[in-house]
């Protein structure tokens, strides 16, 4: 077993991201004042390069290939999500520069960290071994902690970062402890395929179940599923707004990708899925709890950032339905989860992009009431925000609607999940109420004070792109559905 350099070509997206991140760090030391703005463009160039590499690799990934002694895999599902992560990073790099300049902390490291976090996400989704999963998660999370806390003037940013870090470290502890128990009970297996082959013997020991659930707890922290969601509102609120969007979309998507892959391979044995202690029933209950608690808490929020944070918790609940459905053998559940993640990524980034846009250095305008009159003053942005909110609420013709539709359609194929779909639908209804509160404020109330948003050409471009993506995913989802569907054909 020798190290084969040609295998590296399969991981070009990740390598481009890391390389460009290092380049930005180097360039930062030479950059002065205004030329720092150029660093963001380096990052954007890196993302575009990674996207090209993903597209180039797509055709060859119809059959999954594993590399590095089963540590990593390249397949369609991984590339689909890679595209989502890189798109999230790209949009973050469009939203961030004007925001950072306005708030006075424009450092090149910021852009480098975004790329490193993205590289971590790519690693997470390609991982087929618990060690590579751990490396990916840590790369992603450490960068995310730094990004959360990088707004040094802000106390809330520091508070959010500390909470996020402590909870994240705790989650990592669970992950590693779980790995150790799985390792011990399977007789030294850490690769997904290896674990799957040893499940019948391993389940003789209750420690194996404990290990399995410890790993799921760790991933539950990352997706902010109830009851591991406590950190999310504070971290989301404290982080610089473009980072919040990046975390809510990218980190969640990566962790969901890992859950889908892990449960679809290492823990896919019927011994582990079904019955009272099987993860399908546990996750079904968690899904119901996550969406319900997320939505109920969101109703009470007056701060738009916290409102979106709780809403992102509830979306983790909807996504868990897809995970459970795929565990129960619904073939279209995985593509549905992928489509949902893609549409959710664009919607969430767009929504947080508007939140970043609306404030300025002295006035963040984070409260729902502060949004009064935006509909009159800036109809285009208000329209975009309305689209994002309707998409989050699942109202046609938006990507969010089709994502929910596709996901619920998959879940309806499993008779055990009908109740969960009804719960989800009732939750969607509730969620429309609080999303519309923001719309009410924007359109139905008159402005209380003049709007002085953070302007920037890249920000406008980012909002335009996300809005177009949300509408296209709603009206012509066919192509993306085919991409997502092609993972199931292998």
């Amino acid at each position: 077993m020798s190290f084969d350099a040609t295998q590296l070509f399969a991981y070009a997206p990740m390598l481009i991201l890391i390389g460009m991140g290092c380049l930005i760090l180097l360039a930062e030391t030479f950059a002065q004042g205004a030329s720092r703005a150029g660093l963001a463009w380096l990052g954007i160039a890196g993302c575009v390069g990674a996207l090209i590499a993903i597209v180039a690799g797509w055709a060859g990934a119809a059959e999954p290939t594993t590399h590095f002694q089963g540590m990593l895999v390249v397949d369609r599902m991984a590339l689909f999500l890679d595209g989502t992560f890189v798109a999230a990073a790209l949009l973050t790099l469009l939203f961030a520069p004007p925001y950072l300049r306005e708030q006075g902390f424009e450092f090149g490291e910021f852009y480098a960290m975004v790329l490193f976090a993205t590289a971590g996400m790519v690693m997470v989704i390609h991982a087929t071994h618990l060690v590579s999963l751990l490396i990916g998660i840590e790369t992603m999370s450490l960068a995310a902690y730094v990004l959360t806390g990088c707004w040094r003037r802000s106390l809330r940013s520091a508070e959010g970062a500390i909470k996020y870090f402590l909870m994240g470290a705790f989650a990592t502890g669970f992950l590693v402890y779980g790995m150790a128990m799985v390792y011990g009970t399977t007789g030294g297996e850490l690769s997904y395929a290896g674990i799957a082959s040893k499940v019948p013997q391993a389940t003789k020991s209750p420690l194996f179940y404990l290990g399995e659930y410890f790993i799921l707890v760790a991933l539950g922290f990352k997706v902010a599923a109830v009851p591991f969601h406590m950190w999310a509102p504070d971290a989301y609120e404290g982080a610089p707004t473009p980072v919040t969007g990046f975390m809510a979309a990218g980190v969640k998507a990566a962790a969901f990708g890992a859950i889908v892959r892990l449960l679809g391979s290492a823990f896919a044995s019927p011994l582990l899925v079904f019955d009272f202690t099987g993860w399908a029933s546990v996750l079904a209950v968690l899904a119901a709890a996550t969406m319900t608690l997320g939505n109920l808490a969101a109703i009470r929020q007056d701060n738009v950032k916290r409102l979106l944070a709780y809403s992102s918790i509830s979306h983790a609940g909807y996504l868990l339905i897809g995970v459970v459905a795929s565990g129960l053998g619904v073939a279209s559940a995985k593509p549905a989860v992928l489509f949902y993640l893609a549409s959710y990524t664009f919607t969430t980034l767009g929504a947080f992009g508007v939140v970043a846009w609306i404030g300025n250095r002295s006035d963040e305008r984070l409260y729902v009431d502060d949004w009064a009159g935006v509909g009159t003053a800036r109809p285009a942005v208000a329209l975009a925000m309305t689209l994002f909110l309707l998409s989050l609420g699942g109202v046609p013709p938006t990507g969010g609607f089709f994502g929910k539709f596709y996901l619920f359609r998959a879940a309806m194929e499993s008779p055990q999940l009908h109740w969960l779909v009804v719960v989800a639908v009732v939750n969607s209804m509730v969620s429309v109420y609080y999303y519309l509160r923001v719309v009410v404020s924007m359109y139905f109330r008159d402005s209380t004070r003049a709007l002085a948003p953070t302007e920037g050409a890249t920000m406008r471009l980012g909002l335009l792109l996300t809005a177009i993506a949300v509408v296209l995913l709603g009206i012509f989802p066919g192509t993306v559905v085919e991409w997502a569907g092609s993972i199931a054909l292998k």
Binding site: A331, F402, F405, V432, Y433, F444, G478
Partner: protein, 538 residues
Amino acid sequence: MGLLGWVTLLPLFGAALILLVPQEEESIHRGLGLLTAIVTFVVSLLMLSGFDAGQAGFQLEVNRSWIAPLGIRFHLGVDGISLWLVMLTTFLIPVTLLSPQAIGIRNIRVREFTAAMLILETGMIGAFLALDLFVFYVFWELMLIPMYFIIGIWGGERRFYAAIKFVIYTLVGSLLMLVAILYLYAQFHAATGGYSFDYAQLSHLSLPASAQMYCFFAFALAFAIKVPIFPLHTWLPDAHVEAPTGGSVILAGVMLKFGTYGLLRFALPLFPLAAAQAAPLIAILAVIGIVYGALMAFVQDDAKKLVAYSSVSHLGFVVLGILTLNPTGIQGAVYQMLAHGISTGGLFLGVGLLYDRRHSRKLSDFGGLWAKTPVFAACLLVIVLASVGLPGLCGFVGEFLVLIGTFTAQKLWGPAGLTGYFPAPKLMGGIAATSVIISAMYLLGMYQRLMFGPLDKPENRAVRDIHGAETWVFGIMVTAAIVMGLAPQPILNRSEKSVEAFVASYRDRLQEAKRNPDVPPHIYPPLPAAAAEGGGTP
């Protein structure tokens, strides 16, 4: 794109165009909006002329692949039932846009208002024409958002409350309907192996009795809220009173019909057995609604609320007519939907005009206007009498046919062994008929308090009669009310075949479902060979 595609999407294109014109150019917005609506009406006239009254099935179909991986097709088609509802929509929208009072007294943001009305038109026409349940659902929800903005931005004092209430009520029903649609889709797949949301195919799916009950409940709830059927009507007075005139006209004139249309098009034919079992309950609720709405209208001092409650009463007739499940009753229901669109639309326009002049809707603030506004008073009289159901005007035909249908419901269904499902038709018809008298009392009472009596309020002396565009608006509405009252036959002729085919197919499917209540999902009657090949892959 086909004629039907154009009718559906033209308003949407017009709305996009209007949104591109700068905010200040209000006259251009109004002009473009009206032009789009009139062109849409003309295209719908082409649809009417291309419609073959001798055929029962769907005509002028547009059937294109949309989201191929899920078997979703952009499938539109028109039959004798949806034909007239589309015509009503394309007729009412230009009239409303022509009315200077449509936007209400908060005369702001004309551009957005016009665009919202046109997007609403696309949603409504699309939902009437949709033959794919996914397409239907998308258009159904598409109606919701513009109406929410119309109430919320241009509405009255309590507009936030009314707008949110409207959205939440509607969503409660429609999301459960979505679950039922997905269930049908999954069961259709289980029964045939194909994936399809196509109405023509799904209406061949016969579900076991218990599944029918759940699905029917989900569909019927969505539609019952929309109608609204007592006791789900509480959103309606709020929404109507707070909405601007144009919103009220379209809400009452067209959108309420989605409830009754949905029952007729989807809830009954897709779940025949459950519909028959639930029919007594719904019929009783409809009769309660007829009487309750009439009594509530009788005690209102707010003219708009009065008209809103009269809608509850009149729509109850439509529901009753549909549930008679004989051609006469359903023909009456269809006709009553159209007549109600004209008469109630006209009433809301009248109340809106008075509110524009006087900034009040309280009947006690008016009196003696006849002397000041003779032309308006004459127009309003015709519309009020049409709503009351005076023979010779549009309201009479529908109510009369519904009552005949109700009285004869048993006679037709007894021989088929289905006596139990429409209980005591004579009693129900008798109770429903009393509301005709009550409606004469409250509507004529309203007219009397507005127009007759002494002109004793000083503010009323300055009220100006209708002039300019307003004359056109009321002239058109009055003409429509008279023409529909005197010559109902051209309309009834075109819907007759479709209604008869509906009743025959319903009866056939109901008897099949009664024979096999516990058979797992299966196809009945067999799918035509060509249709069976359609549908997508997973």
